[in-house]
Amino acid sequence: MLDIQNLNAGYGEMPVLRKLNITIADGEIVSVVGSNGAGKSTLLKAISGIIKSTGIITWNNELLHTLKAHTIVQRGIVHVPEGRKIFPDMTVVENLMMGGYLCQKDCQQNLDRVFTLFPKLAQRRNQLGGTMSGGEQQMLAIGRGLMGNPKLLLLDEPSLGLSPLFTEIVFGAIRTINSSGVTVLLVEQNVYQSLSISQRGYVIEIGRIVLTGTGEELLNNQEVKKAFLGM
């Protein structure tokens, strides 16, 4: 389980997250929703060690925030970044191989698993990542994350800029991944979709958690409805 206490993080002198507390139990899908600039991506970057943070982040009773990013991946925490950030001049298979960079056993099995989840990637295995459409790149980014054998998958805006069709595919894949035993922390602006598939959710505003509850509670909350769902 992931436990975050009093987390402060930001860029340079600019604090973005202030005294943030979040817990995620094994097997859950947890959503963090909020508007642009609320600190959602910063939260994920702090967990995966891309940016420095103060406070306490523990993963199965081990302190995380003192570790370097590449050693955090070794603990089974895989971050699929916002904007997909696939390797543009590498083929689909090469991108996936990079996702499995730390893989020592079951690597082929992971590859098969990704191709079963996203058959389109199998068809496009030799295409350069940079030449794919946004939706295909998002599948590749999630597939690449799965190659790292995650116990906890951090997904940053996976539906950003996707067509409704690809959004459906991506959210369906998140459910499938979760039902295979992977804990998911989902950061989204697509509040309705993400809260619908989440057991629990947090609403974040200017770096602070302002509301928390089950996915359903938050979907029915008046303020959430007003602020995010336009109701």
Binding site: I50, A69, H70, V73, P81, P88, M90, M98
Partner: protein, 289 residues
Amino acid sequence: MSFLQPLLSGILTGGVYALAGMGMSLVFGVMNISNFAHGDLMMLGMYMAFFAFTLLHIDPYVSLVLIIPTAFLFGFMVEKLFINRVIHHPHQNQILLTIGLGLIMSNTALLAFTSDPKILTTTYSSSAFNLPGGISLSVPLLISFLITGVTIAILYLFLAKSRTGMALRATSQNREAAQLMGINVAKMSAIAFGIGTALAATAGALIAPTYYIHPLAGHSFLLKAFTICVLGGLGSVVGAGVGGIIIGVVEAMSSTYWSTDWKDVIVFVLFLAVLLFRPQGLFGKKGGE
């Protein structure tokens, strides 16, 4: 005189330029740092070949077996000690640091080896290989071109197929994403700088039998390597390979058909033309500059 003569000699010389340019381009691609000590690292390679020949009596081409790993380790250490401290800093700081390191190297060489140029004369230094049609190719240039070809093939296979090579490419394409894959990007930078240094030293050793060996010899090659990188597209190893050959051929052609004094002018006019009309370089990506 046959048109083929300057073309072939140009290609032979260009191969060594390509090697120097590729090292610089690889470092730029992985670390986003322009290494202005690259020419001085070439100079160190020249002296290594010279001393391997005079002190240990090893043929300059055979001595590569020693020079390549030594240079790799040297580059790896230089990155760990100095370069990685400026990797997230502005370009001007990085440029000052690498220029400074280069000055320390060339001036240490001046102190240690004096400013007297050294000449490495092998039994085959001035021999030539004659082709029909009156074309003659310098034997040392021919050997160095063959070694260059093998080195480039090994580098290509390493980058294309090996786990570390792929991680280097991933780091150069997206450093943050590479970190998220569990790639130790700090280590990749040190490896890239080590390989860049090894390539520079190899190029230096390869030209040692045909050039004057001098503590400041690296400076003219730095300019050439930089031109080649920009020509091919900064960060593109393939582009640097092609750029090197182009520069070699243009130099040889302009020396033959115009004047040796003007060859650098022509090279830089070409350089300016590329900057004007294709600023991302021949193989570069738009916006990559």
